[in-house]
Symmetry: C2
Subunit: 284 residues, 2 copies
């Protein structure tokens, strides 16, 4: 929907990506994400997990900008399990030392939804964007692929240690801040590696050539199902590009190379992909 | 619900009131409001009006802080009438010269809801709060009371000129900025004059003595129904307190006087009120 406003001069940056706002010599980073019952999490899921995830997905967008969080504002739909929601909210805010600045509460029928705005301060200017990847850059990602999918597949009754990657994802805040001065482009892969790599390549006006044999899968089960894992999403890892020869401040995995714009923004194992290949999680 | 976090050190300011955040020598003001179909507006209302109101109610919170808007982030529930929503959003953003910085879209069943975060820059520090009213100050408000109620009562089919105050309220941004250097306390009266006056008095640790014969009603119809009008809300006027002897930069109406804390935070025509008197629109 927001794309309908893209031609409007008031719309400087839209949807999906975090907004950057310069104020008083600082660059602020703002993100807004909504979670809906039955869409973004299971019906009946522990509200503490929902609170955690709501904060974590927004902090992940800050991480991709190399920003440190300054606070969050919560739009809370009142209902059953509010005590558990508060418990999870406390946990995640304490874990990342983020203040709850404010927000509002509403009461409504139907599926509940929660929205959160996170505000952060960029630690490096220029703030990393999706559009800076250049031909010749190497493509990297932090962490591993498919962890959230694996955790989800374990079912709602599995232990927290098994389901943590789905229920309590950890935004890569430190990694994002350490990487920000070096990267040519950065974003998280919350909608799936392929879809987000496509978006970054498109925004940068280049092609990304990915080699699946380099992908960092941690479990054997996922290796067998890698085509699904690279589309599943919910891995809050960072995807970024670097000129060759730069030493990485964090362990990350080299998964491909940036090429001049070709037949498709995304080439996997030498084959150009198209949007028809169901690349990942589409919000619209 | 958010009150459950009030004892938490991470929770600096909660719900209802805008948050103030100091960054790079500037004071940022952040607000978050959600509108729900059937709760905050009529089913079947023109989505262009919903978009307008969503932005206006948040800008009104910035106005009460003397802030100038820097931008908004939108959480948009996709559905019927999106074209009209976009049209209304364009109108209100153009009217107040506010950029749409970003946001997200979701698809869900049930009543739709929209959330908006507005961010502004305070034009005067210290930023006006609700807690600074002192005994001896005079209590003022901008504009008139009951306009939105009158517009609502006209019904959904009345012309825009009659229903404008309900459908397209105008935040008092200029007034808020002009008043900010002078006031001891300021807030908007979106939840009704009585309830919001109660809140300001309580936050300031004083009593507000209001005199209904001073209240600025513009229409005869409302005069007869003034007890309802002072509770109805949706008037996006500013309530503020000033030490006696300060010249007003805007025409406003003197409606009462701040007294030392008494039996109740709110005294109307000499009678102490209680929460049981249904003072206004409660969100929780």
């Amino acid at each position: 929907m927001l794309r309908g406003l893209a031609t409007h001069p008031a719309a400087r940056g839209l949807a999906d990506d975090a907004a950057v706002l310069e104020v008083g010599g600082e660059a602020l980073v703002l993100t807004h994400d909504t979670l809906v019952e039955g869409v973004h999490f299971r019906l009946g899921q522990d509200p503490a997990d929902i609170a955690w995830k709501l904060v974590a997905v927004n902090l992940s967008d800050l991480a991709a900008k190399g920003a440190e969080p300054l606070g969050v504002l919560l739009g809370h739909a009142l209902g059953d399990g509010d005590d558990r929601f508060i418990a999870g909210l406390r946990e995640v805010l304490e874990r990342y030392e983020v203040p709850l600045l404010g927000g509002d509460t509403v009461k409504a029928d139907g599926p509940r939804s929660w929205s959160l705005t996170a505000i952060g301060r960029a630690t490096h200017i220029p703030v990393p964007s999706r559009s800076g990847a250049r031909p010749g850059d190497r493509i990297y990602m932090t962490g591993a692929l498919g962890e959230a999918m694996h955790a989800f597949d374990a079912g709602p009754d599995a232990s927290l240690s098994v389901t943590k990657a789905y229920r309590r994802p950890e935004p890569r805040l430190q990694e994002g801040q350490a990487l920000a001065p070096h990267v040519t482009a950065m974003m998280d892969i919350s909608d799936g590696l392929l879809l987000d790599a496509w978006r970054m390549a498109e925004a940068s006006g280049v092609s990304f050539a990915l080699d699946h044999s380099r992908f960092p899968f941690r479990t054997g089960a996922i290796m067998a199902d890698w085509q699904r894992a690279v589309r599943w999403g919910d891995d809050y890892e960072l995807l970024f590009t670097l000129p060759a020869g730069i030493e990485l401040p964090y362990h990350s995995t080299w998964i491909g190379t940036v090429e001049p714009a070709g037949t498709s923004p995304l080439i996997l194992d030498g084959q150009p992909l198209s949007k028809a290949d169901n690349l990942g999680y589409e919000h619209k």
